[in-house]
């Protein structure tokens, strides 16, 4: 299934791009395969709509795969750091579009991240929306730059987003309840915020928006995106019961 789609795409690409592919030193089909693998991996890492904590082993293995591809592409010279106007390169554009989609989705949702408190900061309710784009940690000024970045800093964004993924995968272990609640944003307890966070999930999430990417098989049930309505019911149940 995968191989077949790939061949068609390769043929199309060669017809449309013509000389644009001359920039690649690698064989186009390998390069495309590698690009598809990279895209697939990034999609897998975007753990949208997860109610259960993601499998850390799986995430680490996927992230390592992404790093390997990135390293190889850097050596190849196919990993472009340049501004987007250079031949509108497919690889980087895809990465950028992924990020922008995630970011813009999050902004739409109106999530305001909980303020960080160093290692022990707590993820606000909005964090459950997308563990990829998590609350920012003011302790690391470089990371907060990722928030405002323009699409131009593509490569830096990518590395930061990879790091970001691991930041979010880390489960916090607050040392004391006091520290936990000391500079907590009071909106954490605001029912409206929580409901807003949940309701806005009903909109198509980042996963759905990635139309331009090659089709990906439905992930295994353990990591599949649950129905948003089901999530809303679930959270309402918990809120009402408690």
């Amino acid at each position: 299934m995968f191989a077949r789609g790939l061949k068609r795409k390769c043929a199309d690409h060669e017809e449309d791009m013509g000389g644009a592919l001359a920039g690649f030193r690698a064989v186009p089909s390998y390069s495309l395969q590698r690009q598809s693998l990279l895209d697939m991996s990034l999609v897998k890492l975007q753990l949208c709509h997860m109610l259960v904590e993601p499998n850390l082993c799986r995430s680490v293995l996927i992230a390592n795969t992404v790093r390997q591809i990135q390293e190889e592409m850097t050596q190849d010279g196919t990993w472009r750091v340049a501004a987007p106007q250079s031949t509108g390169r497919a690889p980087l554009d895809r990465l950028v579009s992924t990020e922008i989609l995630c970011r813009s989705m999050r902004e739409q949702d109106g999530v305001h991240p909980a303020p960080g408190m160093g290692d022990d900061h707590v993820l606000g309710p909005g964090s459950e929306l997308s563990t990829v784009t998590s609350a920012q940690t003011p302790r690391d000024p470089q990371n907060s730059v990722w928030e405002m970045d323009s699409p131009r800093e593509n490569r830096g964004n990518f590395q930061k987003s990879l790091d970001q993924i691991f930041e979010t995968l880390e489960t916090r272990n607050p040392s004391s309840a006091e520290e936990l609640f000391s500079d907590m944003d009071s909106s954490y307890y605001d029912l409206d915020t929580v409901l807003t966070g949940v309701v806005s999930r009903a909109e198509p999430g980042p996963c759905d928006g990635l139309q331009g990417l090659p089709p990906v098989a439905t992930p295994a049930s353990s990591s599949s995106c649950k129905s948003d309505l089901g999530e809303l019911d679930h959270v309402m149940e918990i809120l009402v019961e408690t």
Partner: protein, 447 residues
């Protein structure tokens, strides 16, 4: 040659005892106790079902030592972590039996976060003839009591009672993947993705951290713990495996925090086989010490390997489980199958090893003869008078009648959990919603 009947138990045996038991939920772990009398299964819904082997009796020819349901109980319930806004699944990841020390049986069961110690007792007598209460438990009118009697124990229908004796909670930030009881019978360890804790069975409010591989910066995380086990005889030794395919043997006498391994077992990478998936398929999904304590068995995505504790440089033996998948790794990565965690098992004499695969197939490898066989856990194979026939996956070329082609394999039918009776040729195979128990009447001394 497919004529494996004389080399492997279970294969082509007319007197094979096979039973298929449908379960309410997907089985997530299977474990025999130390005598093999009891078999415990845990499922995705947090339930534990214990089977007991009926005693073989010449007087009752129907009873051939089959396993029947002994007890069922709810071990774990789903929880919600309000702090992180995440569900904690009730799925039972592992069950380990404690060695039996009195009439009661005990086992440890764990989900992602909490380990519980359960005590299983039998009640087959009840006291009758109380002085102050009547048969229904109501207080007697004292004026009617004219003499005193001593209550006596009368037989009753067997009742199996299960009670939670200890709850070991809040020990793990990450998901628990293994538990292992120490040979000292007093302590046990629990391992999650980044840490391993040592507990005392009687103490629930604290545990000792003995391995911590969490980096200072989570961004630097590239390797996680995938499985761990105590040595069967040396209470100071344990092994843990990683997602990069390495095994670390640690000695608790060396230091309190066993971050520095005593031995590192790692096979150098084969440069000719290198691909983007090399690391993923090298990730060890299970590690088991042999009964002798001399060897370790590991399972990674495509192979099972036997390691000699005295040789760190490379495995002693490597067996291909389903090498025909090597050319399909990209598709298997896409559908997440490449992350499936298969378990492995030794037979009682450490001469045969077993592991599961796809399409409800499971494989056995004889270490002495170097023969291997593929068997299928299916309804057909568990009918009365059915025999387990060897199966074959063909990869192009000459195809025989009953062969299955690689492309027709059902990847949703995976056998992740298998267990072998400690001494006899009895195996338990978990195939999603069905538990298969195969019993070979041939004396296991053959192997």
């Amino acid at each position: 040659a497919l004529n494996c009947r004389f080399y492997f138990p279970f294969v082509d045996r007319p007197k094979l005892l096979a039973v298929s038991l449908p379960t309410a939920d997907i089985i997530s772990t299977v474990e025999f106790n130390h005598t093999g009398e009891l078999l415990a299964t845990g499922d995705k819904g947090g339930r534990v079902v214990i089977f007991q082997r009926e005693p073989e009796s010449k007087n009752a020819p129907h009873s051939q030592g089959e396993y029947d349901v002994y007890s069922t109980f709810q071990s774990h319930e789903p929880e919600f972590d309000y702090l992180k806004s995440l569900e904690i699944e009730e799925k039972i990841n592992k069950i380990k039996w404690l060695p039996q020390q009195n009439a009661a049986h005990s086992l440890l069961s764990t989900n992602d976060k909490t380990i519980k110690l359960w005590k299983i007792t039998e009640r087959d007598k009840r006291p009758e003839g109380y002085n102050l209460k009547d048969e229904e438990g109501k207080l007697k009118d004292l004026s009617t009591v004219t003499s005193l009697q001593v209550p006596v124990l009368k037989p009753m229908d067997l009742m199996v009672e299960v009670s939670p004796r200890r709850v070991f909670a809040n020990g793990h930030t990450y998901h628990i993947n293994s538990i292992s009881v120490n040979s000292d019978c007093e302590t046990y360890m629990s391992a999650d993705d980044l840490r391993i804790n040592l507990w005392h069975l009687a103490v629930t409010d604290r545990s000792f951290n003995i391995v911590d591989i969490k980096p200072a910066n989570m961004e630097d995380l590239t390797e996680v713990i995938t499985a761990s086990e105590f040595h069967p005889h040396h209470c100071n030794l344990f092994v843990y495996s990683s997602s990069k395919g390495s095994l670390r043997l640690c000695d608790m006498r060396a230091a309190a925090l066993c971050d520095k391994h005593s031995k590192l077992f790692e096979e150098p990478e084969d440069p000719s086989n290198r691909s983007f998936f090399s690391e993923i398929i090298s990730s060890v999904s299970d590690v088991k010490f042999s009964h002798s304590g001399r060897y370790m068995l590991t399972r990674d995505y495509l192979t099972v390997k036997v390691w000699d504790l005295n040789m760190e440089a490379r495995p002693l033996e490597t067996y291909q489980v389903h090498d025909y998948l090597r050319s399909k790794l990209c598709s298997l990565y896409e559908n997440d199958c490449i992350f499936d965690k298969f378990e492995c098992a030794w037979n009682g004499s450490d001469s045969v090893i077993m592991t599961g695969a796809y399409n409800n197939f499971f494989r056995m490898f004889d270490r002495n003869t170097k023969r291997d066989v593929t068997l299928e856990a299916s309804r057909e194979s568990s009918k009365p008078r059915a025999v387990l026939k060897p199966r074959r996956v063909c990869v192009g070329g000459k195809r025989r009648r009953d062969d299955i082609s690689v492309d027709s394999l059902d990847f949703t039918k995976k056998i992740l959990h298998t267990a072998w009776h400690p001494t006899e040729n009895i195996i338990a195979i978990a195939a999603t919603n069905n538990l298969y128990i195969f019993q070979d009447k041939v004396n296991s001394d053959m192997h």
